[in-house]
């Protein structure tokens, strides 16, 4: 049996178990949200996604309201938009800097900034006290904890518990004084945090930010995102490599990555600085009289080929074994196994990040 409801005057089908927000999103409605992350149990905190349902006693949060056959739902009315503006004004009144956040802070970091444009909010209406206590003193080199921009949507706490299973941070205090902290407010490195960075990427205001990426905040070029697959293990997490000009400036997980749905681990998220490290080899080196000295590609390849040939001739084809680095591009890893299999007829290959 097909199930239908009326959404802004149009009859639309839905599946049993879907929420009104899910139905509306599938039909292209841009219902504003701040506490919503489709991977997490809906919390119903921000109340921006409220809709009017005929017969209901007041607006309902669409993210927590199950769709029912025959419902008549309106997602945009003058009254709803007035409430949404009041809400965004209230949020901005507490986080006046929320409208100007560097996108390098995280994947979702522009959500509040975009709503401030949509609702013409600049933080002046309802001005008053602010609540966040930033932890700029947390010495960890990866996660910026700028709680001055925190809006208490708890997406970080929820992603940490529900997706990563770390339960490293939680909600402390009450009401306007609510803060996000690890147990006893310890630094993250003393908590159960595994620095997966998922909290950064789901934060809708950039209160949590990617400190490594932010080192490149001052580069003037626009950010370009290039889709790739994390090379560090066999899971195959999709991610976007962020570049400014020729400089790699960060990594963000792909929400539509089939293997990871927006998740990464500490390595995929933060271990990319070596790409531009000054210690990296930039030209072939060969050993002469015990010293590594620059050489031409031709000379280096000849020396390597001779070495492989000699090993094979003296000790047989099983004397050679190749380990590819997790930091090498996928194409290089592919070439290494091809080289061993074709040249030596063995499967003596491995990768340091085999998982």
């Amino acid at each position: 049996m097909s199930l239908d409801l009326t959404l802004d005057g149009q009859v639309v089908p839905f599946q049993e178990g879907e929420t009104l927000y899910e139905v509306a999103s599938r039909h292209g409605d841009k219902i504003p949200t701040l506490c919503y992350d489709k991977r997490l149990d809906p919390l119903g905190a921000c109340r921006l996604c409220v809709v009017e349902v005929e017969g209901a006693n007041g607006p309902l949060a669409s993210c927590t309201t199950p769709a029912r056959a025959g419902m008549a739902v309106r997602t945009v009315t003058e009254d709803l938009e007035r409430h949404r503006k009041t809400l965004v004004d209230l949020v901005l009144s507490e986080n006046p800097k929320g409208a100007e956040i560097d996108p390098l802070r995280g994947l979702a970091s522009q959500e509040l900034a975009q709503l401030s444009v949509r609702y013409g909010s600049d933080g002046t209406r309802f001005a008053g006290a602010t609540s966040g206590h930033s932890r700029f003193d947390d010495p960890n080199p990866m996660i910026l904890r700028d709680y001055d921009n925190c809006i208490s949507c708890y997406r970080c706490v929820r992603v940490c518990a529900e997706q990563e299973g770390d339960y490293a941070i939680s909600i402390t205090g009450r009401g306007f004084g609510t803060q996000i902290s690890a147990e006893f407010d310890v630094d993250l490195e003393d908590s159960d945090c595994t620095f997966c960075g998922q909290c950064i990427q789901t934060c809708p205001t950039g209160a949590l930010g990617d400190l490594r990426a932010l080192q490149h905040a001052d580069l003037p070029e626009p950010i370009t995102a290039t889709r790739s697959i994390c090379p560090y293990c066999g899971v195959g997490c999709s991610l976007d490599l962020l570049t400014k000009g020729e400089t790699l400036v960060g990594v963000q997980p792909a929400m539509d990555g089939p293997a990871n749905e927006g998740a990464l681990c500490i390595k995929g998220q933060f271990a990319w600085e070596w790409v531009q490290h000054p210690d990296r080899l930039t030209e072939p080196l060969v050993r002469k009289d015990g010293e590594l000295v620059p050489a031409t590609w031709e000379e280096a390849l000849d020396r390597a080929a001779a070495g492989f040939a000699q090993a094979g001739a003296e000790h047989g084809r099983r004397s050679v074994y190749a380990v590819a680095s997790g930091r090498a591009p996928h194409e290089s890893a592919y070439s290494v196994q091809k080289f061993i299999r074709v040249n030596f007829g063995t499967n003596q290959i491995d990768n340091c990040s085999r998982a």
Binding site: G44, L90, A127, A161, S170, R174, G175
Partner: protein, 544 residues
């Protein structure tokens, strides 16, 4: 003096009990005088609860803390009525004292809580332990339900209870089919007396018919609404009536286990309940009771927040649906009933549905306890017929001081906002009060005569809501703060018209969009202030 128990002993004592988190926290708090870091780590390991979550929950509650020696610090009631009686001075005078939200003794101020001692007195040298005041005799001579036997001597003991007809209804219920019990309740018209007014029989039936189990019953004794002290008098003076009501509810719903979630501020009630349970064991056979002491959080009076608190989760209210009747305590079908509702059950079963229904006036059925306090001559709990005229209660029963005029009364404690002098011609029932933009709720009414600064009372009220807001939903978390700021000091738009526009806009969105009753009702304070006292508001703003 026995050696204090070890971590392991305490954990072993509680780890296999239902809802062990709160009692374990209290046990460590009692042993150490605070919740120490090591203690919390032991509880986390013992109950396998993430440490960060446990720490977060501890910081949520008023009365437990990681600060050394915090348990024994005196707490002084800052409810509106106690402030009128000088509680701010008392707070100042008592060394190391902390303010606490209304502690439910507005008829006999000022309560001071110190560890497990509930003291009362108007100044530091007069503080003493004293039983909760008994309700005044019904001035109209009207028939009562919950309070009918509460003034009987020894009613709180099992023998005294038996002597005045106690446990007869339970014996009768044991001979009845669950459906018969439900039918009596349904015919009586008994509805939730905590404020929601949901038909009790419908709730019970939903749990009886719900899939899964075990089924659970919860008595909501987390009476935190300022100006409400009715549950306290019932529990202190008629505890067996609540136990009997719960046991009957167990028979009707199929629940074999019941929690009593008691607010932290009633330690003497805890002792009374424990004694009553001990004495009544043989009568209550087949039904397991677990008393759980809250830790100081108004929001835990909200039933889903209460359930999260019982489970040791962060005490935010839950989203509904699903409702507790299908997904309550640990996701099992759960009845959550107010103390007064449960106290009404045995009399209804004993005397019949028609009797109870007939106690109401006109089309209204049954009675309601009203906690009346403030500027009246005889404050206290009154049981009135549903639909009873407020003016009769106020002027004929309780009486107002000579030469004074009632300026405003609150409804539903603080949650219903103010009714002004011109609004007093109402009857005490939801239909009438909702038509006035207020509601009866749990039945707390605070009276303020013409000496009182209503702007200041409104400020205190909003400060209470801001202090008790849980922090989950945006309109309430930020809105209660902004409204408190606007009532407290020059902030936001300053010109009276713009100020009013801001206060109204925030309130409107809070009422419509907040996730639970706290945020939906807090703005009734500012709305009614603006409606009833526009000139006082303007004068106040202009004087700033």
């Amino acid at each position: 003096m026995p050696a204090s128990p070890t971590d392991e002993q305490l954990i072993k004592r509680w780890q296999d009990e239902p809802a062990p988190v709160l009692p374990l926290l209290h046990a460590f708090n009692e042993r150490d005088g605070h919740i120490s870091r090591e203690g919390l780590e032991a509880i986390s390991a013992g109950l396998r609860i993430p440490l960060a979550n446990l720490h977060g929950s501890v910081t949520f509650y008023h009365h437990i803390s990681g600060e050394p020696e915090s348990r024994d610090r005196p707490r002084v009631c800052m409810g509106p009525i106690c402030r009128l009686n000088g509680s701010e001075q008392l707070l100042h005078d008592l060394e190391g004292a902390e303010p606490m939200a209304c502690a439910g003794r507005c008829d006999d101020p000022i309560p001071v809580l110190q560890a497990d001692r509930a003291l009362v007195g108007l100044s530091g040298d007069k503080l003493q332990q004293a039983p909760s005041p008994l309700p005044p005799l019904n001035p109209g001579g009207l028939e009562e339900c919950c309070l009918a036997s509460v003034r009987e001597p020894d009613r709180a003991t099992c023998s005294g209870y038996m002597r005045t007809g106690g446990y007869a209804a339970l014996a009768k219920a044991r001979e009845m089919e669950p459906e018969e019990i439900l039918q009596v309740l349904e015919d009586s018209g008994l509805a939730g007396r905590g404020g929601a007014g949901f038909p009790t029989a419908t709730k019970w039936r939903a749990v009886r018919d719900a899939q899964g189990g075990p089924k659970t019953l919860v008595c909501n004794a987390d009476e935190g609404e300022p100006g409400c002290f009715k549950d306290r008098v019932l529990l202190d003076h008629d505890p067996h009536a609540i136990l009997e009501g719960m046991a009957i509810a167990g028979l009707a719903t199929g629940a074999a286990r019941g929690f009593i979630y008691l607010r932290y501020e009633y330690p003497q009630t805890l002792a009374i309940l424990e004694r009553a349970l001990e004495e009544a064991k043989e009568h209550l056979d087949g039904f397991e009771f677990c008393v759980r002491r809250g830790a100081g959080a108004y929001i835990c009076g909200e039933e889903t927040s209460l359930l999260n608190s019982l489970e040791g989760e962060h005490p935010f209210p839950r989203n509904r649906p699903p409702f507790p009747v299908t997904h309550g305590f640990e996701q099992t079908p759960t009845v959550v009933n107010n103390v007064e509702t449960l106290a009404s059950v045995a009399p209804i079963l004993a005397r019949g549905a028609e009797w109870y229904a007939g106690l109401g006036l006109g089309e209204h059925r049954g009675t309601k306890l009203i906690s009346l306090s403030g500027d009246v001559l005889r404050p206290g709990n009154y049981e009135v017929p549903m639909g009873f005229p407020l003016k009769t209660l106020l002027f004929d029963w309780a009486g107002v001081p000579e030469g004074r005029k009632v300026q405003a009364v609150t409804m539903a404690g603080l949650s219903g906002g103010f009714l002004g002098a011109a609004d007093l011609d109402v009857t005490l029932d939801e239909a009438c009060l909702r038509a006035k933009g207020s509601f009866l709720g749990a039945g707390g009414i605070m009276v303020f005569d013409d000496r009182r600064d209503m702007f200041e009372i409104a400020r205190q009220s909003m400060e209470f809501f801001a202090s008790e807001a849980c922090g989950k939903c945006f309109p309430c978390r930020i809105g209660t703060e902004r409204l408190t700021e606007r009532l407290s000091e020059p902030s936001g738009a300053l010109a009276p018209e713009a100020w009013t526009e801001e206060v109204r806009a925030i309130g409107y969105t809070m009422i419509e969009l907040s996730a639970c009753g706290l945020g939906k009702s807090a703005p009734l304070i500012t709305e009614s202030l603006l409606r009833l006292f526009p000139e006082e508001v303007s004068a106040k703003l202009e004087a700033r």
